[in-house]
Every structure is written in structure tokens, then in C-alpha cells.
């Protein structure tokens, strides 16, 4: 099949998927293999990597960095993926409805969407934390809200473009019910864009969760969020930099893999990016 073949040739998609697989495997199986992440031993603090029993060293309280890192991966993945999944479902639904039905409903939705859309994610999260207290909940709420709105906006735009196209007009003339048009005709056409967009927002969610934990507003101790680990290691940068470096690198790889997948998907799904040769020879 042409699509699969092109997918395999796409360097970004391949490298991104490889990285992502490694991360997911670490996150899912890591905690079982690496043992207790909250076990403290003050006498064994600040151990360098490759010390026996402490693969990536230990932090100030003697906790195993590797064990904490993989749990941190789990948390980040959990937040990012669950939030994005919900945002995709709700956002697409809202966008489809607003874009297709138009009228007063659309105006109202657009008003609310644009209102929230204007605010930076971190600000919303900080406000949520101010309002209901720190922890994972405000992060999830804030990221979920902003991502939902962003997706709704884009989907609506796409639908507006599509409703003019003939196959939709034909479906309407054929008397298909609104729901059927939405699900069978519009949704498949909107999916590619949503797919690319959601990969971007997974990355955004990961960074947001990490940033918030870093400043202390996200996941609370003893939960080992990667951002928090970076923050904990701050004071020891000079002598024991791995305490911050390790979680930092992990975050970087997570975001990088997701971005690469997103870029690859976009190149794959955007017909305009076909090479000049393909275009010239199809004339």
C-alpha cells in the first residue's frame, strides 16, 4: 500500500516511533523492574550513576533516580495521553458541531473557544492551581481545557472549508441525517489534521506538566514527577548534575519523539507536499 510504503521511508516518523516505543516500554515495564521509588536512605545520597544497585545514581534523599524516572515517565505519559485523548474526543465533537450547524450555537461556541484560546496554557494552569490547590488535578484540568479548545478551533475551521465541497452538498441533498454526515463524511476528512495536531498537543502537555511540577505547582511529593526531579537537583548542579540531567534528558526525548512523529505524520498526510517529480509526472 502506498501509504505504508511512504510511512516507512519517512525518517521522522520512523525515528520518532522508535524513540516513543523505548519510552513507553520504559514507562510501562520499568517500575516493575527497577523497584521501589520512594525508598529513602540518607546515607546513600548523591551516589553517581553506575553504582551497584543505583543504575543512574541516587538523589539527595538517597532515592534511586532510575526508579523514580520511570515512574515519572508513567505520570507524564498518563497525563499527556489521557488529557489529549479526552481533548481530541470532546474538541472534535465541538468543532464538528460548531462548524457544520453554524448559527447561534456556532457563535456561542466560538465565543467561548476564542475566549479560552487567548490565554497561555501555563497561566491557566497557575490560575487553576491558585483556585483549587496544587497537584495533578489543576494541571489536568488546565491542559485538558486548553487542548480541547485548540482542537475544537482547528476542527471547526476544517469543517467550514469542507462543507462547501461537493460531496457534502451531495450528501445533504441525498437527505442523509446530520449525525450521519458528521460521522461518516466529515469525521474521516478531519482525522488527519486532528492526528497531527494531537501529537503536537501531547508534546505541549508533557512540557506543561513538567514545567508546573518544576515550579512546585504540579504533582506533589512523594510522586516523582520528572519536572520536580529536575527542580530537586538544581542545587547540586555542579557536583552531581545527573540528578537534574537525567530527568531532563528523559523529558527531552519524550517530547522529541512525539514531535518527530507529528512532523512525519504531517508530511505523510499533506498532499501538497508530494515531490515536484510526482506532480510533474502526473500531469
Amino acid at each position: 500500500m502506498n501509504l505504508l510504503h511512504r510511512a516507512r521511508r519517512n525518517k521522522q516518523l520512523v525515528s520518532g516511533s522508535v524513540l516513543a516505543t523505548i519510552i513507553v516500554v520504559l514507562g510501562v515495564f520499568g517500575p516493575f523492574l527497577l523497584g521501589d521509588y520512594s525508598h529513602q536512605d540518607l546515607l546513600l545520597g548523591h551516589l553517581p550513576p553506575k553504582t551497584s544497585g543505583y543504575l543512574l545514581g541516587s538523589d539527595a534523599l538517597g532515592r534511586d533516580i532510575a526508579a523514580r524516572a520511570v515512574v515519572g515517565i508513567r505520570i507524564s505519559l498518563f497525563v499527556a495521553i489521557s488529557v489529549t485523548a479526552i481533548a481530541v474526543i470532546i474538541g472534535t465533537a465541538i468543532g464538528l458541531t460548531a462548524g457544520y450547524v453554524r448559527g447561534a450555537i456556532d457563535n456561542l461556541i466560538t465565543l467561548i473557544v476564542d475566549f479560552i484560546w487567548g490565554f497561555p496554557l501555563i497561566l491557566v494552569a497557575v490560575l487553576a492551581a491558585a483556585s483549587i490547590g496544587s497537584g495533578l488535578l489543576p494541571v489536568i484540568l488546565a491542559v485538558g481545557l486548553v487542548n480541547t479548545v485548540a482542537i475544537a478551533r482547528v476542527v471547526r475551521g476544517e469543517v467550514l472549508g469542507l462543507t462547501e465541497k461537493e460531496f457534502i452538498v451531495a450528501a445533504k441533498a441525498g437527505g442523509y441525517s446530520t449525525v450521519r454526515i458528521l460521522l461518516k463524511h466529515l469525521l474521516p476528512n478531519v482525522m488527519p489534521v486532528v492526528l497531527v495536531l494531537s501529537s503536537y498537543y501531547v508534546a505541549v502537555a508533557i512540557i506543561a506538566e513538567a514545567s508546573l511540577s518544576f515550579v512546585g505547582l504540579g504533582a506533589q511529593p512523594p510522586l516523582p514527577s520528572l519536572g520536580q526531579m529536575v527542580s530537586d537537583g538544581r542545587s547540586f548542579l555542579i557536583m552531581n548534575h545527573w540528578e537534574s540531567t537525567v530527568p531532563g534528558v528523559v523529558i527531552f526525548i519524550m517530547v522529541l519523539s512525539v514531535s518527530l512523529i507529528g512532523d512525519g505524520l504531517r508530511d505523510l498526510l499533506d498532499p501538497r507536499l508530494r515531490t515536484a517529480v510526482e506532480r510533474a509526472s502526473s500531469k
Binding site: 475566549f115 487567548g118 490565554f119 497561555p120 496554557l121 501555563i122 497561566l123 497557575v126 490560575l127 487553576a128 492551581a129 491558585a130 483556585s131 483549587i132 490547590g133 496544587s134 508534546a203 512540557i207 513538567a210 514545567s211 518544576f214 515550579v215 512546585g216 505547582l217 519536572g227 529536575v230 527542580s231 538544581r234 548542579l237 555542579i238 548534575h241 537534574s244 531532563g248 523529558i251 527531552f252 517530547v255 522529541l256 514531535s259 518527530l260 512532523d263
Partner: protein, 304 residues
């Protein structure tokens, strides 16, 4: 012209709505103010009395109006932690954040746009691959980590630059760069793709057929057409900067609005939270307004 006026009006309404929302969200947990101000041994009745005294029992809208009234007249209350007058603090914090945010936005466009143009011009050469990979990586690095990295490199190891605080130009460099990193990456990619898309358009062929030089076509016509998405990017930038500044200011100890807000949230200092979050909301809203006005003016189709 008409659309601009209507946009200003709707922005003012938006400001009202968002300030109310922010106000309500924070007052929502107002009970904690009581906990912060009253000794732990206070009885429930005392707490209730206190609440009534402060006015926390009145309907939200009324509280909002009172607050806004004070806001406008400059009575902003005092910080719960330091007891300093917020109105005194505000000026300095705002100024510092403006310096940092403004420099960042400048850097993003002065560096990002030309790099994107070069990448588009030298498409598929190593220059292009280099610039593009750089920008993919730039967007993946969480800025707080980049901040730590730069502090480690430039401050602790090389001792070229200070690691924090606001101490003149030298201390501005690192936070401004870190704040701009992701923006530069995004701008490079957007500029590159906009330029590439426009180079392939029909009107370029017409200009070429008319005998215009490649240089003129690229730098005057293709660029001008690519500016539109770049300008809308600039608009979104203000919001982004405000968001990221919260973290960057905290790490570098840059005494701006972001830092004081984050600390306020951590310490539950409600007057601080209330005022500075409102401030940021206003900044973002106004930024978006200017951006959309700028876009309208730049697009001849919307000007007529």
C-alpha cells in the same frame, strides 16, 4: 476601520469577562485567606465574623465590583507574606517583565525570520537540514531544563554571566535567550514553510516572466506574502511569552510579574495572586488585540 472599532469594543467586554472569571476562580478558595490570617485556634464563629468583616460573604459580583473599584483607584491591598503595598511593588515588577518579555519578542523575530528565509532559500542543503533540526530540537527542550543547562554552562562553569537576579544587561542575556528559544524555533519553521509555499505560487512565475530578478522576487514579493502568517505568529507570541515567563523568571530569579505570581501561588498570598493574575490576563488580552489589528492592517483583503 469599522472592524477595528468593533474589535476594541469586544476586547473590552472580553477583559471584563475574563477579569471576572479570574477573580471568581481565586475567590473560590477564599476560605484559605481566613485560615492564613486567623490563628489555628480560632473558632468557627470567629472565622465567620472575620469573613463578614473582609466582605467574603457578599455575592461574588459585589465583591468583584468592590475590588475593581479599588483596583482603578490604586488601592490594591497588601501582600499577605511581606505586608508590602502591592501598588508599590507593581511598578517595578511590571517594568522588569516588560524588559524581559520585550527583549524576547524582539530576539525571536530578528533571529527567527532571517533564519527561516535562509533555510527556505537553501532548501535541502545541509544549511536547511541543520537549521530545521535545530528548530525541532529547540521546540522539544523544556525551557526550564534549557535554563538550568545554560546556568550550568555559562554561570557556574564559565562564569561569563550571572546566574540570576536583575543586575543590568548581563543578567538579561540568559533569561531572554531561554525565553526566546522555543519562539525562535517556531518562527524559523513557520517562516520557512510560508516562504516555500509562496515561492511555488503562480504569481512568482508572472513576476519572473516580467523580468524581475530572483533576488527582488524573493525578498520583496515572496517575503511580503509570507509576512501574514508571521504576523499572526507574533500576536500569539505575547501570550506564549507571558506563559513561559512564569517559569523562566522563577528559575533565574528575575523579579518580574511571573516570579511574584508563582511565589504567591505557592504561599497562598491571595492579594498578590489576585492582582498579578489579573494583570497578566489583561496583558494577554491586549496583546491579542494588537496582534489581530496588526494582521488586519497587513492584509489588503481585510483593509478594504
Amino acid at each position: 476601520m469599522k472592524s477595528i472599532i468593533s474589535r476594541v469594543v469586544s476586547t473590552l467586554l472580553l477583559l471584563l469577562a475574563s477579569s471576572l472569571a479570574v477573580f471568581a476562580a481565586i475567590r473560590f478558595s477564599g476560605g484559605d485567606v481566613t485560615a492564613a490570617r486567623m490563628p489555628a485556634s480560632a473558632s468557627a464563629e470567629d472565622r465567620e465574623l472575620f469573613r463578614r468583616q473582609i466582605g467574603l460573604d457578599k455575592p461574588i459580583l459585589e465583591q468583584y465590583v468592590t475590588y475593581m473599584g479599588n483596583f482603578v483607584t490604586g488601592d490594591l491591598g497588601n501582600s499577605l507574606t511581606s505586608n508590602a503595598k502591592i501598588s508599590t511593588l507593581a511598578g517595578e515588577k511590571i517594568r522588569n517583565s516588560l524588559i524581559l518579555g520585550g527583549s524576547s519578542i524582539l530576539i525571536v523575530f530578528i533571529v527567527g525570520v532571517p533564519l527561516g528565509m535562509i533555510a527556505a532559500l537553501k532548501r535541502n542543503t545541509w544549511i536547511d537540514t541543520g537549521v530545521t533540526s535545530f528548530s525541532v530540537a529547540g521546540m522539544a527542550i523544556p525551557n526550564f531544563w534549557l535554563a538550568l543547562l545554560t546556568i550550568y554552562l555559562f554561570a557556574s562553569t564559565l562564569h561569563w554571566l550571572p546566574s540570576g537576579g536583575q543586575g543590568g544587561f548581563k543578567s538579561l542575556i540568559l533569561p531572554a535567550l531561554v525565553l526566546s528559544a522555543e519562539g525562535i524555533a517556531l518562527t524559523v519553521r513557520m517562516t520557512r514553510s510560508a516562504m516555500l509555499e509562496n515561492i511555488g505560487q503562480d504569481f512568482v512565475r508572472t513576476l519572473r516572466a516580467a523580468g524581475l530578478s530572483e533576488r527582488r522576487i524573493y525578498f520583496k514579493h515572496v517575503l511580503r506574502n509570507s509576512l501574514l502568517p508571521i504576523i499572526s505568529l507574533a500576536g500569539l507570541r505575547v501570550g506564549q511569552v507571558v506563559g513561559y515567563a512564569l517559569v523562566v523568571e522563577t528559575i533565574f530569579g528575575w523579579p518580574g510579574v511571573g516570579q511574584i505570581l508563582v511565589n504567591g501561588v505557592l504561599r497562598r498570598d491571595y492579594p498578590i495572586i489576585q492582582f498579578f493574575s489579573l494583570l497578566l490576563v489583561i496583558a494577554v488580552t491586549l496583546g491579542n488585540l494588537f496582534a489581530s489589528i496588526g494582521y488586519t492592517l497587513a492584509n489588503p483583503r481585510l483593509r478594504k
